[in-house]
């Protein structure tokens, strides 16, 4: 047993010496390989974390949202629709909501303005998200002025700044009273942005929706499960441009691995020839090359994964910020909750480490079973 171990130690010593002889090439390889793993792991960790968080917190979003559609667009909905939909068995609460967007030309950013019913705000008070407070440099007691639909500037005193911990949800929120909302946007009494229905038994949601759309054919119901599904698919692996970028990185790696698999350099062939001429067996050569592949791929995986973990969960995934931010000015300053799926990590390990080892071993095996004399020529 100890003889076998000793043999492996000698092989690893030899492998390291061999790797160090081509230091530049192998370090370059390790760097590129680690970067690919880093990129893949960062996307994987970040999207899984956001998806998990969205799945937990959005469980509390309204069960049914009713939007009115006019000419294919979301339009204001009259409060009478609440009566028109009649008595729907299973609906415990129904109410109209007022919310919308406000573009602030001074800061070139969009706010989400809402009129929450239970916050006890007077017509001159506002609760703002931490993102707006940071961007405008205001705090509790300061005044924020926005322009109403008819051009009048309306000032609000900041009553509260929402907690920085909830910035992922609330960074652009601007909460005002219902009356102030109607004054700013010129929305008449009795009109709402949409309606929300609370349902006692979640299994009845689809039936209630069917009944409601029969009575109100011009509405579009949005169910909570659709909201959850939206975020499940937004951060899925195979989405949009992220997939294109990753596919590029993976293809580059595949080309590199295939190039390595398709042939050995003359120097490597000569090395194998000399080793065999000195009495090394085919098995020893294969073991030595296995160690070479294992050392590089395992090191690249560990460096890449650990770097990605620190980047995403300690560095707020700052490299992704420009991509996610797009042209927006308001971007939440948040630290993703480190949800890690071991199965995803195992998949990443399998698809980044094993192909490389196999790609290294196969051509070596081909060279190692040929005659040393032929290989050296």
């Amino acid at each position: 047993m100890s003889g076998l171990l000793q043999r492996q130690f000698y092989l690893v010593d030899f492998t390291l010496a061999s790797l160090l002889r081509r230091k530049g090439k192998n370090l370059g390889l390790l760097l590129v390989y680690s970067l690919i793993v880093f990129l893949l792991a960062s996307v994987m960790l970040f999207t899984h974390s956001l998806r998990s968080e969205a799945g937990i917190v959005l469980q509390e979003s309204p069960e049914i949202i009713v939007q009115r559609m006019v000419a294919g667009r979301h339009a204001l909905i009259p409060g009478e629709y609440l009566e028109k939909m009649g008595r729907l068995r299973g609906v415990s609460k129904r109410q109209g909501r007022l919310w919308g967007y406000f573009y602030d030309p001074a800061l070139k950013s969009n706010y989400t303005i809402m009129a929450p019913p239970d916050r006890g705000l007077s017509n001159s008070e506002v609760i703002i998200g931490n993102g707006i407070a940071r961007l405008r440099g205001v705090g509790i007691g300061d005044y924020v002025t926005i322009r109403s639909y008819d051009g009048d500037g309306i000032s609000f005193q900041v009553k509260e700044v929402m907690a920085a911990e909830s910035e992922l949800l609330s960074n652009d929120l601007f909460l005002i009273s219902e009356q102030a909302f109607r004054i700013i946007f010129g929305i008449p009494d009795g009109m709402y942005t949409d309606l929300v229905l609370s349902v006692r038994n979640p299994r009845e949601v689809r039936k209630i929706t069917e009944k409601m759309t029969l009575k109100l054919p011009d509405v579009r119901p949005i169910l909570r499960e659709e909201v959850l599904r939206t975020y499940d698919s937004v951060f899925a692996w195979r989405q949009g441009i992220v997939f294109v970028l990753l596919a590029g990185a993976v293809l580059a790696f595949v080309i590199f691995a295939l190039d390595k698999a398709s042939g050995l350099s003359a120097e490597e062939k000569r090395e194998i020839g000399i080793l065999k001429a000195m009495g090394w067996e085919t098995g020893d050569v294969l073991r030595m090359k296995f160690w070479e592949g294992a050392v590089i791929s395992l090191a690249a995986f560990l460096i890449g994964y650990l770097g990605a973990y620190v980047h995403v969960f300690y560095g707020s995934a700052s490299l992704f910020e420009p991509v996610l931010k797009g042209w927006a000015v308001l971007y939440p300053d948040f630290q993703p909750v480190p949800f890690v799926d071991p199965l995803q990590v195992a998949t990443l390990f399998f698809f980044t480490v094993f192909p490389y080892i196999v790609a290294t071993i196969v051509p070596i095996w081909r060279a190692a079973i040929t005659d040393p004399d032929a290989v050296m020529r």
Binding site: E60, N110, I222, L302, A328
Partner: protein, 96 residues
């Protein structure tokens, strides 16, 4: 010390760090339970439906509330031009 021993020690340390990421993840996720509950309460109170990640356009701010054709809302050949729109695929129904 022989190079192989040094290498195994290095790998051992890296593997420990690798395992530590799972411990760290478990501890911090458990520690974030209150925070998540607080965020969920905010969602329930305000009736929020979306994360505030993409504030550049109204249909990217509230992805789940957007019109189904919102990327083409200005005119039929108006292709999506907001960067965050490129992170999303069209809804299932549109693809079919």
């Amino acid at each position: 010390m022989r190079p192989s021993i040094m290498l195994f020690l290095l790998f051992g340390a890296a593997c420990l760090l690798f395992a530590a990421t799972f411990v760290d993840s478990g501890l911090r996720t458990a520690g974030a339970a209150d925070l998540l509950a607080q965020r969920a309460r905010l969602v329930a109170e305000l009736g929020l439906t979306d994360l505030g990640l993409f504030t550049e356009a109204r249909y990217t701010r509230h992805l789940s509330q957007a019109d189904l054709h919102s990327a083409f809302q200005d005119h039929p050949m108006s292709l999506e031009h907001f960067p965050s729109g490129s992170l999303l695929l069209p809804p299932q129904g549109v693809k079919r």
